[in-house]
């Protein structure tokens, strides 16, 4: 659905996006992760049609996004900082969204509004708390019946219950209507629960882009112990990191875990446990080292 090909964007001399490529399938929930300043918000602003790339293409369903009114009617955006008109209350904003999005579902909006009893729809949105403003943004976006939802740090500022409630709303829309979601967040634990695809960004580039399952099976944590010193591992086992605690060695191995397990098994270890890595661990190991310097880990 989303195709970003060789996109470069410079702000003065600073290269914010450097020949970036990104691909999001229809119906996917795509998590965009990366350290601060990696360029996540910048690429999201390109996808919203706010920024225009210096070079490359940004398309959704094969159409260029920039200045494409018809295309934009099919997706909703919740930026990290949400905009509401001064003096506008939730109902005013609903009317505005209704005018902007042809598929806006007022009944759905009212139904969702009932799920958030703390929000007074007649109160000016700008006077609501940050969390409540986010909730209003979600209500408006979901009621717009989008095919694609682009979320930049969406649940920042929400309490855990509300986060869960928001995600369940989105997930049900995904399940019922095949909604595609692109979400950027620092909360990797949360993304791990909801995303099926992940793109890891750094220095304006997508370093890794694959399904979460693939990602989690491509890097493995193996805890092993030998009688005496650990023998040298075969060359075909690519070790990203090795930590020794007493006689127990923890190694992070890149590649197919079965092959590493088989090779180490032939070395007669006293103990061998193969453990999956969390997304957070993968993120850290992929971007680990000083200043997130990328090591030779690109597949």
């Amino acid at each position: 659905m989303i195709e970003v090909n060789n996109v470069t964007k410079k702000f003065g001399d600073f290269v914010a996006l450097d020949n970036l490529n990104m691909h999001v399938e229809r119906g996917a929930i795509y998590g965009l992760v990366g350290p601060n300043g990696a360029g996540k918000s910048t690429i999201i602003r390109h996808l919203c049609g706010v920024y225009k790339q210096d070079s490359g293409t940004v398309t959704i369903d094969g159409q260029s996004v920039y200045e494409n009114e018809q295309l934009k009617q099919r997706f909703a955006v919740i930026p990290d900082e949400i905009f509401y008109f001064t003096q506008a209350n939730t109902l005013d904003m609903m009317k505005f969204y209704k005018g902007m999005y042809p598929k806006f579902d007022e009944a759905l909006f009212k139904k969702i509004l009932d799920c958030f009893p703390a929000i007074n729809p007649k109160k000016m949105v700008r006077t609501l708390s940050k969390g409540m403003q986010k909730q209003v943004a979600f209500m408006l976006s979901i009621a717009s019946r989008p095919e694609l939802m682009i979320l930049d740090e969406p649940v920042d500022g929400l309490d855990p219950v509300m986060r869960r409630q928001i995600w369940s709303l989105i997930m049900s829309d995904v399940a019922e209507n095949g909604l595609t979601v692109l979400v950027s967040s620092h909360n990797l634990r949360e993304l791990e629960d909801v995303c099926d695809h992940v793109g890891i960004m750094n220095n304006g580039k997508i370093l890794i882009e694959r399904s979460l399952d693939e990602l989690q099976t491509s890097i493995t944590k193996i805890q092993i112990a030998f009688d005496g010193d650990m023998p040298a591992l075969p060359d075909n086992i690519k070790v990203l990191k090795s930590i020794t605690t007493g006689r127990v060695h923890t190694i992070i191995v890149k590649g197919e875990p079965g092959a590493a397990e088989k090779a180490i098994g032939t070395m007669n270890p006293l103990l061998m446990d193969v453990l999956p890595l969390t997304l957070e661990e993968i993120f850290i190991y992929e971007l680990g080292g000083e200043n997130y310097a990328v090591k030779d880990i690109i597949f």
């Binding site: 706010v50 934009k72 905009f83 902007m100 042809p102």
Partner: protein, 660 residues
């Protein structure tokens, strides 16, 4: 709902109106107060107003009132308020990003915003015109053309200022800066002209009065429209203050058409800027790339040029400088100040003080060289400002002002004055330094003023010193004496100082004051013989005899003589304290006043005048006049004649210096 026409979005339109209607309401309230309510009150008390006493009809009063009601400054403020509120989102990252993430194109955003601003800005004007029309019908006042022309001026100025406001708001990412730019763009031409005139007045030879005669150009609409696009009235009164004639005009329809076209051009340019605008430039001082060097170089050059000239002027005021020295100081100051301002503007544009890179230094060097060349061009008078003597066929009249004022309209005289001026400028190298070379020689000034047929004025003023001084050089004399010879020619004095009716007039009045010292009060008694016992005919005959003596003294070079060494009449030793004046009158020939023509006082007069009072400072050397005055009984005793110097001595005014 999104309209099918992609340049308009109904939902955005409603949203814009919901935020700006208050401005429109305020505009309507203010217009209602200054026009309909004011008119209703005036109509109700019409008979009590001076209008009725002066013979005005209600219709004439309406025309007169509408001609004074301001509309252009009003729309100037309304336009920026409307545009600022509507395009507010452009200046805040969150608002800007979100608005452009909505399914609405910039075309829709722009034109919907412009349409909503126009409607809110124009509706009060139209409503006001309708209300006024209804009142006019009710009061049977037939000033409909004025009401609707006034409204048309408001409509065009609103659209023009809105277009400039939209343009300004596209050029910066900061709302305050954008509003400042709006003001600058409206006054830009005048500001540039003032900068050049100010510099010229401080540096260039003969241009010390450059700041006077500034006229507003079409390029400064806020200043130009108000005085050129309006309902104007012209009234003449009789001797009793009653209206003789009343006419009105709808001025500047052609200008309105031009401004309407300019508004369309600005709307288009502003749209193109918006289309090309990079949204990441929010909060940038200037958000349009090509304007950055224009701003930086423009501000650096104009501010430093004026500042440099001021520095030179300050030094000159402390100690007279030669022309070349003054210019050298100005050039150095301009270049140094220019470099500082160049970097300051870079800091504003880049939003950092870290702008000292090799690249910027290179730009600064290029700018400095360009500024240096510009100043050198000014110094060498490449633009022909100092040496400018207008072509004879372009001149309506030329005036010379020194001790007296003369204005020449005759073709031959214009030619002669041009030649005198050209001859003067041919020797300017020494003349421009007279204040330094001849510091001890008394001096004054001489001005040449050319009124061109296109209405423009070329004015040059020069310092000159006494030609009778032994210190002055032959070069100086050859440049200045021909002018004095020309001005002191008796026939010319009669024609231009007494006036065009000098040889065909009655002297309807003549006064001469005499002074007698009174020991009791230790002051002078002043008296004046009025000849009340004589008939008018006898008085005219008496006056005529003295007038003939006046002409004789002029012929002998004793009266109305221009002398470059006379700083003030009051400083001259032999000038009389006695006042002498007479009135020339011809009922058939209108009097042409050189003085009023020169100073453009014509506007103050309604209709032709046939008489003029001539006042002159006599000297003891005016023997023909003094003899005639005595012979005709204006005074009896020579002791009643006293010079200013003698008066001051007797009164003790010369004893101690006056301390201020």
């Amino acid at each position: 709902m999104q309209s099918k026409t992609s340049f308009f979005s109904l939902v955005l339109f409603k949203k814009n109106i919901s935020r700006t209607w208050i401005v429109g309401l305020l505009e309507f309230i203010l217009l209602t107060i200054i026009m309909p309510i004011d008119f209703i009150i005036s109509m109700a008390h019409f008979d009590d107003y001076w209008y009725a006493e002066s013979g005005y009809t209600k219709t004439a009063m309406w025309y007169e009132s509408i001609s004074y009601k301001p509309i252009v400054p009003f729309t100037f403020v309304v336009a920026i308020l409307l545009a600022g509120i509507t395009l507010w989102y452009l200046f805040f990252k969150r608002d800007n990003y979100m608005m452009h993430a909505f399914p609405v194109s910039r075309k829709s955003l722009y034109f919907t915003s412009f349409i909503s601003c126009s409607i809110v800005g124009l509706l009060p004007l139209i409503l006001n015109a309708i209300v006024l029309t209804v009142i006019a019908v009710a009061e049977q006042v037939h000033a409909f053309d004025a009401i609707w022309y006034y409204t048309l001026v408001g409509v065009v100025s609103t659209e023009l200022f809105l277009s400039i406001a939209f343009f300004s708001l596209m050029t910066s990412g900061q709302i305050v800066t954008a509003i400042v730019f709006y003001f600058i763009f409206n006054f830009l031409y005048t500001l540039i002209e003032i900068a050049f005139r100010l510099t010229a007045s401080l540096l260039l030879f003969g241009m010390s009065e450059s700041l006077s005669g500034l006229t507003y150009n079409m390029a400064s609409p806020i200043l130009f429209m108000g005085s050129n696009c309006k309902v104007s009235t012209y009234t003449t009164y009789d001797d009793l203050g009653q209206i003789k004639t009343f006419t009105h005009n709808l001025d500047g329809a052609g200008y309105l058409l031009i401004y309407a076209v300019v508004a369309i051009v600005f709307i288009a340019i502003a749209y193109l800027l918006y289309k090309a605008k990079k949204l990441e430039t929010v909060h940038d001082f200037i958000s349009v790339s090509f304007l950055k060097p224009v701003f930086s170089v423009g501000i650096s050059f104009f501010v430093s040029m004026v500042a440099g000239a001021f520095v030179a002027g300050l030094v000159d005021s402390a100690h007279y400088l030669r022309y070349s020295t003054r210019f050298a100081i100005a050039i150095i100051s301009t270049l140094v100040i220019g470099c500082i301002i160049f970097y300051a503007t870079q800091m504003m544009i880049e939003k950092t003080i870290r702008v000292f890179s090799a690249k910027k230094f290179g730009f600064m060097i290029c700018y400095t060289l360009a500024a240096f060349v510009a100043m050198l061009l000014m110094r060498t008078d490449v633009f022909k400002l100092e040496n400018k003597v207008p072509d004879a066929e372009d001149i309506a009249w030329v005036g010379i002002q020194s001790n007296y004022t003369m204005v020449f309209t005759d073709e031959e005289e214009i030619y002669s004055v041009r030649e005198l001026h050209k001859n003067f400028l041919a020797d300017k190298k020494e003349l421009r330094d007279v204040n330094v070379i001849y510091q001890d020689v008394p001096g004054s000034t001489i001005s040449f003023k050319y009124k061109l047929k296109n209405g423009k004025v070329v004015l040059r003023t020069y310092s000159v010193v006494d030609t009778n001084s032994e210190e002055v050089s032959d070069t100086y004399l050859s440049a200045t004496e021909p002018i004095l010879d020309y001005l002191n020619y008796p026939a010319r004095i009669k024609e231009h100082i007494i006036g065009n009716i000098w040889n065909n007039c009655d002297i309807t009045d003549m006064t001469f004051s005499t002074y007698t010292y009174d020991e009791k009060i230790q002051d002078f008694h002043s008296s004046m013989e009025s000849f009340d016992y004589l008939t008018e005919k006898e008085k005219l005959a008496k006056n005529k005899k003295v007038y003939e003596a006046v002409l004789k003294d002029i012929d002998e070079g004793k009266l109305f003589i221009t002398d470059f060494g006379m700083e003030s009449f009051y400083d001259e030793d032999d000038v009389l304290y006695n006042d002498f004046s007479f009135v020339v009158y011809n009922s058939e020939v209108p009097y042409f006043s050189d003085e009023e023509t020169y100073w453009d006082y014509g506007w103050a007069e309604n209709g032709a005048t046939y008489e003029r009072s001539i006042y002159t400072m006599l000297t003891r050397d005016c023997t023909n006049i003094l003899h005639a005055l005595k012979a005709e009984g204006f005074y009896e005793d020579d002791n009643q004649i006293i010079t200013i110097s003698e008066y001051n001595d007797i009164m003790g005014y010369n004893d101690d210096p006056i301390i201020y």
